[in-house]
Amino acid sequence: MTTENQAGNPYLRISNVIKYFGDFCALNDVSIDIEEGEFVCFLGPSGCGKTTLLRAIAGLELQTHGRIEQAGRDISNLPPAERDFGIVFQSYALFPNLSIIRNVAYGLENRKLPKAEIETRARELLELVGLTGQDDKYPAQLSGGQQQRVALARALATSPGLLLLDEPLSALDARVRVHLRHEIKQLQHRLGVTTIMVTHDQEEALTMADRIVVMNEGVIEQVGTPMEIYRHPATAFVADFIGKMNFADGRVSNAGKVKLGDVELSCDTGPHGAGQAVQVAVRPEDIVARDVKAGDENAFAANVADLEFLGSSLRVDLTGPALGGQTLTADLSVNLMRELDLEPGHDVTVRIPAERIALYATGEG
């Protein structure tokens, strides 16, 4: 392995990482490449191994098998202090007895820099994260959002090549979270530091990440841009975990046709052969009710079982013989409801665009 980072080589390469806690397999043969300057989110439900993977990258948890390379250097067996990263935890882990400025300066202080230089750099960083005039306060005197900014400044102080964020926003209340989300993304973009963030909040991942790594039960389910992940979920798990998804039992009737109750829908049947039982997945917003006539492709009549008012939109439960008694949920606008006179018990004709239908093998997820 060469020590230089050759063109074309990723900044961080994780190969076949396996981690056992006793008999429990937390990471099962995980491999992924991360490019320099990328913002990557590890997304998944709790216990999926995302935090374990982050801690393995930091060296805080040692993988049982596998290799991790950073900037062309094999760091698999290095202790954390010999790796190059800054880290922000959900709990902030600010030193309570040190003032804000001393917290930020903490990593600089043992680099034998002149005092004034340390001070200037720390002030710059606080400015960078939007905290000025609070230098001599203690962490306990700041709000949660402010504390998280200090933690971020402290992690960036030593100019690490890799920034690791472990659920940095989940201890904050919703408003602050949305605000900080945006700021962190901008800061990362400006500094160009390769960043990995662990989160279980799909919205956070979709809005912030360049690429999302969806994990479940110790394996990577899918890697892709937010749009790819949302539009083309690779597995039923991803489809279910990201956004809202209808699943209905169907059976492939011919290539390009799937039968769902009484209705036969056109769609890309991909590898699924005729006669195979599949799960038919449709997002609620992809069910169209405006200007649909019976006889349109993939149009069918359905009965309104229930209505749920969500403010700007409605969540409509559709059922009927066309669906074989199964229920699909559609998101429809309030205006449309008035136009179509939707009420429980009424019938409505809806259509599902063929390219919006995804099929998954039954039993998966």
Binding site: N16, I18, Y20, D23, C25, N28, D29, A58, G59, L60, L62, Q63, T64, H65, G66, S76, N77, L78, P79, P80, A81, E82, F85, G86, I87, F89, S91, Y92, A93, F95, P96, N97, L98, Y106, G107, E109, N110, R111, Y138, P139, A140, Q141, R154, A155, A157, T158, P160, E217, V219
Partner: protein
């Protein structure tokens, strides 16, 4: 799970052995320190206990069958027939199976085999060793192990002694069980411990209830009064009881002819000094309670008594169990009270003292120690299990109970606490008063003569100075070692086995009674082959035994404080390339300073008051104040003993006061960052 799921074995087969992290500088320093700490605990507790255990299996018996005699009528006269000592002794009935068992110091006079022996007679004697496994015999020139005849005249033969031989087995335990005077102490100890525990738990429970669940006046005063006994050595209440109910006691009539010297005195004295220990546990148990349970009970119109029986008692269940075992252990292992006021009433702890100090029978001392170790270990194990269960008792969303005023109950509580408070202050006041009386009961004028320790046996003021020094060293070194150890256990990375082992060793000392630890130290450190032999009889061994004896509580206090710190501080400082010890000094220690102060004060006060751990280990120039109390009381100088005990109380109280002030100052200084 997916299909490409690797089993652990398959992964190992595919990728070779599991990865190992290269050790960084931090890891090396941490493991090095952990190694030193492990070594410390090994030397301080494991090896001494092992030495004691093996000592208890050491037996000494006379192998008379390996000794032979010959007698001659005088110079130039022929030697008689060769006589085996065993056959001769059995024939003459001078040896019995029992008399063949002895201790390491045992010697059997050779003249016992010759009833008509006279050292003036011209008779000559010869002795020799035959066979294997004998212990040899002593003559004026020293021990003899060889098989050649040693010839002696009557005068020399008078000093000839047969030595026992050492072997290993359970004989000592058999002897113990078959010696009624020894074995009966087991009953006595159990009786005292059970009775005292029963009394103390009931008294302390209602006292704690009054402090936490009523609106009685003067709560602060009652709380402080109840904790007074902690400041005194356990010898003090016993001395006070002598003055109150002894042969010349001022309230002797109250006993209606019973003697205070015996079980009555031991129970009262033990109850006095263990009361605050039970109280602290029960106050904690009763403090954590969910007000909503009581609101629900009230809404359901539950009678007060039923609420008490169905809500209060079950809520305090674990506290009650824990307190019961703690008090039982404290009483059964205590040495001070039964020594002073037990009279002829023997308990296990005083038996150890008598066997070791009185009879120099170390093996039997070790046996009694093992016997005493058993109930202590069992009580300790049960307590640990119970405490583990208590953790999840209270949910985070519980609403703390705020007692409501209730004039009748509040008054009754105040009267109850007042009564107990009067007894506590009375017992302490008695010792205080007695220490100032010139010559009880004949000259009742006040004087400080009893404090003139230098004119009395026991160690004088030097003993007091030694105690202060010992307590200071214990506090300083003990806190440093224990806090660092707790830090490594709680915050160390990896090396789980080592950390688990140290955790276990840190908990172990609590199960070992002070007397047992002290005796174990003799066996271990006084062994001539031990390279650490040089600390025997020095101040260092006193400090070591005291730190070890009080290690567990200090360790748990430190660990609790450390657990409350963010678990990621070490990870953050590693990511900032800062060595862990810098973060330890700059963050961990300042944040944990209140707990560190608590630990050091706890060690100081206990070092001042402990008797049991040090009573076997002090030398003439390292006598301690608490030992001086014991020795002066032994010598009949009860008033000076009371005075010295009071000196310990003054010192402990002063240190406690200082601690309170320091903590207050600390809180003021760190207010800015300590708010939550």
């Amino acid at each position: 799970m997916t299909t490409n799921d690797l089993t652990q074995a398959a992964a190992a087969a595919k990728y070779g052995r599991p990865a190992r992290q290269r050790m960084g500088r931090d890891d090396l320093v941490m493991r090095g320190t952990m190694g030193l700490l492990g070594l410390f605990l090994l030397v301080a507790i494991v090896l001494p206990l092992y030495a004691m255990l093996s000592k208890s299996f050491e037996t000494f018996t006379y192998r008379f069958d390996t000794i032979e005699f010959q007698v001659s009528g005088g110079e130039g006269m022929p030697w008689g027939k060769t006589m085996n000592a065993l056959a001769l002794g059995t024939e003459l009935d001078v040896i019995t199976p029992e008399s063949m068992v002895t201790s390491n110091g045992g010697r059997f006079q050779a003249t016992e085999f010759f009833p008509d022996f006279s050292f003036r007679a011209p008779t000559l004697y010869r002795m020799r060793n035959v066979g294997e496994g004998g212990g040899g015999f002593m003559v004026a020139g020293g021990p003899v192990y060889h098989a050649d005849w040693v010839e002696m005249d009557g005068n020399a033969f008078r000093r000839a002694q047969i030595r026992p031989t050492e072997s290993h087995g359970i004989d000592n335990y058999l002897t113990y069980v078959n010696t009624p005077s020894l074995f009966f102490s087991v009953y006595n100890s159990l009786f005292i411990a059970l009775t005292t525990t029963f009394i103390v738990i009931i008294l302390a429970f209602f006292y704690a209830y009054a402090l936490t669940r009523t609106c009685m006046p003067f709560k602060g005063v009652f709380r402080i009064i109840a904790l007074i006994p902690i400041l005194a050595p356990s010898l003090l209440p016993a001395i006070s009881l002598v003055y109150l109910f002894g042969n010349q006691g001022i309230m002797k009539g109250l006993l209606m002819g019973e003697s205070i010297y015996g079980p009555i005195g031991v129970v009262i004295g033990s109850a006095f000094w263990t009361f605050p220990h039970a109280l602290m546990i029960l106050v904690t148990a009763l403090s954590i309670s969910d007000a909503r349970l009581y609101e629900a009970a009230e809404a359901l119109r539950t009678p007060k008594l039923r609420t008490f029986l169905t809500v209060t008692l079950p809520g305090a269940k674990y506290g009650l169990i824990s307190a019961t075992f703690v008090i039982f252990t404290l009483v059964i292992t205590d040495f001070g009270v039964p020594k002073v006021i037990g009279g002829q009433f023997n308990v296990l702890a005083t038996d150890i003292y008598k066997q070791v100090i009185g009879q120099q029978n170390f093996q039997m001392g070790a046996v009694v120690s093992v016997v005493l170790l058993l109930p202590a270990v069992i009580a300790f194990a049960v307590d640990r299990i119970v405490q583990r269960k208590q953790v999840a008792l209270l949910s985070a969303r519980a609403v703390p109970l705020v007692p409501k005023p209730h004039s009748r109950i509040d008054k009754a509580a105040a009267v109850y606490c007042g009564a107990i408070g009067v007894v506590i202050v009375g017992v302490l006041g008695m010792a205080f008063w007695a220490s100032l009386i010139k010559f009880w009961p004949y000259n009742m004028s006040l004087s400080l003569a009893n404090y003139d320790f230098d004119v009395m046996d026991g160690g004088g003021w030097e003993a007091y100075g030694n105690s202060i020094r010992m307590a200071l060293y214990t506090a300083i070194f003990g806190t440093a070692i224990i806090f660092s150890g707790a830090y490594l256990v709680e915050k160390g990375r990896g090396f789980g086995f080592g950390r688990g082992l140290i955790q276990l060793l840190a908990i172990l000392p609590m199960a070992v009674p002070g007397m047992v630890l002290g005796l174990a130290y003799i066996f271990f450190f006084n062994h001539p082959d031990n390279p650490l032999n040089f600390i025997y009889g020095s101040m260092a061994i006193l400090v070591l035994v005291t730190i070890t004896h009080f290690y567990t509580v200090s360790h748990l206090t430190a660990a609790t404080a450390l657990k409350q710190m963010d678990p990621e501080f070490e990870a953050v400082s590693a990511s900032l390339k800062t060595p862990f010890y810098r973060t330890f000094a700059k963050v961990t220690v300042p944040v944990c300073l209140p707990a560190i102060l608590d630990v050091s004060i706890y060690l100081f006060v206990n070092a001042m008051t402990t008797v049991s751990a040090v009573v076997f280990l002090y030398a003439t120039d390292t006598t301690l104040a608490s030992v001086a109390v014991l020795n002066m009381d032994d010598a009949g100088d009860i008033a000076p003993a009371a005075a010295m005990a009071m000196m310990i109380v003054y010192t402990s109280a002063g240190i406690r006061l200082l601690h309170a002030l320091m903590t207050k100052g600390l809180h003021r200084r760190s207010q800015a960052w300590r708010m939550r």
